[in-house]
């Protein structure tokens, strides 16, 4: 038997063993298949960053035809629900008690100043939910703009404010959450599951027996990578199908690029899991470490939910060290913008370098030695 043939047979034997263990362990199947489905449903349906109906209390101190027209514009908007209140104090109370999301004050000199060329409106929002407050602030521009366009039409000429969101015309937050979801699912399958597998062999003493065979460390690592890559692929396919058929997120880039990007990121996640598992040799510690090193940052600091540009500079620098950041950016670009050469290849290149570095480090850390 030639050396290569023997090598392939050993890899095959180890991979078969690993696959059987995955199939017999209900928790791997749960994390590999049930978990992605829960994530898809939870984030896809449960998490929406869109503000659909903002209740505002309106105080009209001017009580003129102009102010009535403005209030009418708010009433017409699908984004606002209007409650008229007589005084500012009452409006403030409603805001404080969270009965309404904000208040609109039309001052008594509104008409006078409008004709003088500089009318002011006051918008009060409850800042405890800053995200919602900011969104509401910007939404309020809509009715105001449409009203002023109509009101000023005769004298100052029609000023049309066209507000258009690029790449996400309907401003549907699902469009950017679902591509990020692929990254989350692969992080969990890749890093979390594999973090356990080498540590488990250390804890149960099986590695000690495997070491005293002709098996080489690289063969052992390949056998740990291949089956989990397969499991990650299942999670990826589930996500892509959900994106297409449940959430109708358009894929602007090519499917081939998407698969390539997913495969590279999956290797990064597997590399992190295997490296941690090899270094700490304890299942409990490995799972804790991977949770804090990959899952939580991927959730918070990757641009999956929170916009990276609104973070403090220091935190932004940290995100450059996180593979999930590049993966989320890559997936969002591929889904919402398309195969934009520069962005895609840059992110893909960084991820590929990370995958190579992690797998190489794991290979170096895996020696057939006990201490």
């Amino acid at each position: 038997m030639t050396g290569w043939l023997a090598k392939l047979r050993r890899i095959r034997a180890l991979t078969d063993k690993e696959t059987r263990q995955i199939l017999r362990d209900p928790s791997s199947v749960a994390i590999g298949i049930v978990f992605p489905i829960i994530m898809i449903l939870l984030f896809g349906y449960g998490l929406s960053l869109d503000v659909t109906r903002v209740n505002v209390a309106v105080v009209d101190q001017d009580a003129s035809a102009d102010s009535a027209g403005l209030v009418g514009a708010f009433r017409l908007s699908t984004y606002f629900g209007v409650t008229m209140v007589p005084s500012l104090a009452q409006a403030t109370t409603l805001v404080m008690n969270r009965k309404v999301d904000g208040a609109l004050l039309i001052p008594s000199d509104f008409t006078r100043r409008l004709h003088a060329g500089g009318a002011e409106l006051q918008i009060l929002v409850n800042g405890t939910d800053s995200n919602q407050a900011r969104i509401m602030q910007s939404y309020a521009q809509g009715p105001v703009a449409s009203w002023s366009a109509r009101a000023g039409g005769a004298s100052a000429g029609p000023v049309t404010v066209v507000d258009r969101m690029w790449f996400n015309e309907t401003n549907n937050s699902r469009y950017f959450i679902v591509p990020g979801l692929i990254v989350m699912v692969m992080t969990v399958i890749g890093a979390f599951l594999t973090a356990m597998v080498i540590a488990r062999e250390w804890e149960r003493g099986t590695l000690e027996a495997l070491f005293v065979t002709p098996m080489l460390p690289g063969e052992f690592l390949i056998s740990k990578t291949v089956p989990y890559f397969g499991l990650g692929t299942i999670g990826f396919v589930l996500c892509v199908l959900a994106a297409r058929f449940l959430f109708h997120v358009p894929l602007r880039g090519s499917l081939l690029m998407l698969c390539l990007a997913a495969a590279v990121y999956l290797l990064v996640a597997l590399g992190i899991g295997l490296l941690v598992s090899t270094l700490v040799k304890s299942q409990f510690l490995a799972s804790q470490l991977v949770l804090t090193l990959t899952f939580l940052p991927a959730m918070m600091l990757s641009g999956f939910i929170y916009d990276l540009r609104s973070m403090p500079a220091v935190v932004q620098w940290i995100t450059y060290a996180l593979p999930a950041r590049y993966a989320v950016s890559l997936m969002q670009t591929l889904y919402l913008a398309g195969d934009i050469g520069g962005v895609v290849w840059l992110n893909l290149g960084i991820l590929a370098a990370m995958a190579a570095a992690l797998l190489a480090a794991t290979r170096l850390a895996t020696r057939k030695q006990l201490s």
């Binding site: 038997m1 047979r9 495997l210 065979t213 080489l216």
Partner: protein, 589 residues
């Protein structure tokens, strides 16, 4: 490389290896060890726990590198080319290296494929392995569902999927019942006959005695090397059997003799006491005022002399183990623990199956059996830690199933592996347990002072208990369990992993406690320890197979010189045989 090294199966020259403990101190696991064995035959590594046996085997298997010296296996330098060694030898680690979630067949296939065994070779080898190990009916069973003895045989089969030039076995018989132990040895002897070289580490000295060569290690140092007879011969003319005076229990007699100057070792054996004296005794007939009979020396006797010479035995001597406590109240002979038809189910599995026994005040009662026999489960129910599924359980006339809290005041419990707080010092542990038992003020101080004195823990008061040497952990656990002066003491495998000295010292304490009227219930799978018990029950698969005095138990085996271990094997074999008759083939185990 010398010609001798090339022809030797393995050779160590001045090998040293040290480790750093987590606490920062350096432990010398192996100190300048030189040892070699030729090709063919059976060699043993013998020594107490912590002697360095596992480290030595791992060096040979190329799993560790020595700090100094050379390790050569089959003529290959283990430091330079461990892979070349690993491709030619087989090694079974202590945990057997099996995958619990793979079947017997899948485990075998995995190792066969890793070793490059061809399909043709498999066809010819597998039937031979199956016949040898008796695993044939279980090929489709998951390894995790095998009994301890079966796992061990499967572990061995996995190392034998191809014929290794050298087989290394690390304590393959620890925690396995005597029956499986014998079966395993039959397999090993068969391999030796076929010309294989086997090196086995063991803390069972009778196993070491059956090998052709033996290396005796203690705390990383080599004490002896050669045929086991050479070690036995150290005890020539120094081994005797003494008959206890009428009315004295063998264990009380043994405890007294062990304190006599000039006696290195004394153990109860078949109702008498076996002695090893410091010097050859020229005047046979009497010794220390008792009639003795000269006996043929054994490996264990020589081993004890070797360890005594290194100063290991000094710690058992010069200590008085006279009862230093006033006797516990109550009449001797009262039944204090009564168990009737006790059952415990875990789902469908009956872990304890209608167990009945009763223990009288001041008795030492043993529960003997292999791992998984139901000893610990029975214990937990007795202590009210686990509810019983069925049956009666009374402790000091209190129904444990109804009033477990009040029953618990009467008992002390030393759990397997000792429940101590590793980061707390010895003093803090004792203080905590004293208060947990409701002791305070002067009473507490008095009991802690007693414990420190009685268990010789004074020098370690300020040491975190995790850093205590093994034997002292056991002492501290026992001290903690005795602070509230319980009437009944439960000990779960207290001597597991203890070296022969710690074992003897432990039993001296137990004997002294029983003399003050404390009732002791103890589990063990080390059969000779049953000789210390007044009565013992043999458990297997949750059932009591036999119970009685050590003499009554021994009577189950044929022959006047039968040991408790022989009796155990006979009893279990008979019970399992019956089970097989009633059940279809392969449904047992």
């Amino acid at each position: 490389m010398t010609a001798q090294a090339a022809s030797a199966a393995l050779q160590l020259d001045g090998v040293g290896k040290s480790f750093r403990r987590e606490t920062g101190e350096t432990v010398l696991a192996l100190d300048n060890i030189s040892f070699s064995i030729g090709k063919g035959g059976l060699a043993a590594l013998a020594g107490p726990d912590g002697a360095g046996k596992t480290t030595l085997l791992r060096l040979l298997a190329g799993l560790m590198k020595a700090d100094g010296g050379t390790v050569s296996v089959l003529g290959i330098d283990a430091a330079k080319d461990p892979q070349a060694i690993q491709s030619r030898i087989s090694y079974m680690p202590q945990q057997f290296g099996l995958y619990d979630d793979l079947t017997v067949q899948e485990n075998l296939d995995l190792y066969a494929n890793l070793h490059g065994v061809t399909a043709d070779e498999k066809r010819s080898e597998y039937p031979r392995l199956m016949e040898m190990t008796g695993l044939d009916p279980f090929t489709a069973r998951l390894a995790g569902q095998l009994s301890g003895g079966m796992k061990q045989k499967l572990g061995l089969a996995c190392t034998l999927v191809r014929s290794p030039e050298l087989l290394l076995l690390d304590e393959p018989t620890v925690g396995v019942d005597p029956l499986s132990r014998r079966e395993l040895w039959e397999i090993i002897h068969k391999l030796i006959k076929e010309g294989m070289t086997v090196l086995i580490s063991t803390s069972y000295l009778d196993e070491a005695a059956a090998c052709q060569r033996v290396l005796v290690l203690n705390e990383g140092k080599k004490l002896a090397e050669g045929p086991p007879d050479e070690v036995s011969r150290l005890a020539q003319g120094r081994t005797f059997l003494a008959q206890p005076p009428d009315g004295t229990k063998p264990r009380d007699f043994q405890a007294r003799l062990l304190d006599e100057p000039g006696i290195i070792d004394a153990v109860p054996e078949s109702g008498q006491v076996r002695l090893v004296s410091q010097a050859a005794w020229s005047k046979p007939g009497t010794f220390a005022g008792v009639a003795v009979k000269a006996m043929p020396e054994r490996f264990e006797d020589g081993f004890m002399i070797l360890l005594e010479q290194t100063g290991g035995a000094a710690r058992t001597h010069g200590q008085t183990h006279q009862p230093q406590e006033p006797a516990i109240g109550g009449t001797r002979g009262d039944v204090v623990v009564e168990v009737r038809d006790l059952c415990r189910r875990f789902g469908k599995f009956l872990a304890v199956d209608h167990v009945s026994f009763s223990v009288k005040r001041g008795e030492i009662f043993g529960l003997l059996g292999p791992n998984g026999a139901g000893k610990t489960t029975t214990f937990r129910m007795l202590c009210g830690l686990l509810p019983a599924s069925e049956g009666t359980l009374k402790i000091a006339a209190t129904d444990v199933r109804q009033h477990s809290a009040s029953a618990r005041q009467h008992l002390g419990y030393v759990a397997q592996k000792f429940s101590l707080y590793g980061q707390l010092t010895v003093g803090e542990n004792l203080d905590f347990f004293a208060r947990a038992y409701g002791l305070g003020g002067g009473k507490k101080r008095e009991r802690i002072a007693w414990a420190l004195d009685q268990f010789k823990l004074e020098p370690f008061v300020r040491l975190p208990s995790a850093q205590l040497p093994g034997g002292f952990k056991q002492r501290l656990a026992m001290a903690a369990a005795l602070l509230h002066r319980p009437e009944i003491l439960f000990l779960d495998e207290p001597t597991s992993g203890a070296d022969p000295f710690a074992r003897r010292e432990f039993w001296q304490r137990i004997t002294a406690l029983a003399a003050t009227g404390v009732t002791v219930i103890i589990t063990t799978h080390f059969m000779p320890e049953a000789e210390y018990c007044d009565r013992a029950a043999i458990l297997d698969s949750g059932k009591v197979l036999a119970q009685g005095t050590p003499a009554e138990l021994r009577a189950h085996a044929a022959g006047a010189s039968a040991t408790i271990e022989d009796a155990f094997v006979a009893i279990v074999q008979e019970a399992r045989g019956k089970q097989h008759e009633g059940a279809p083939a392969g449904a047992g185990a």
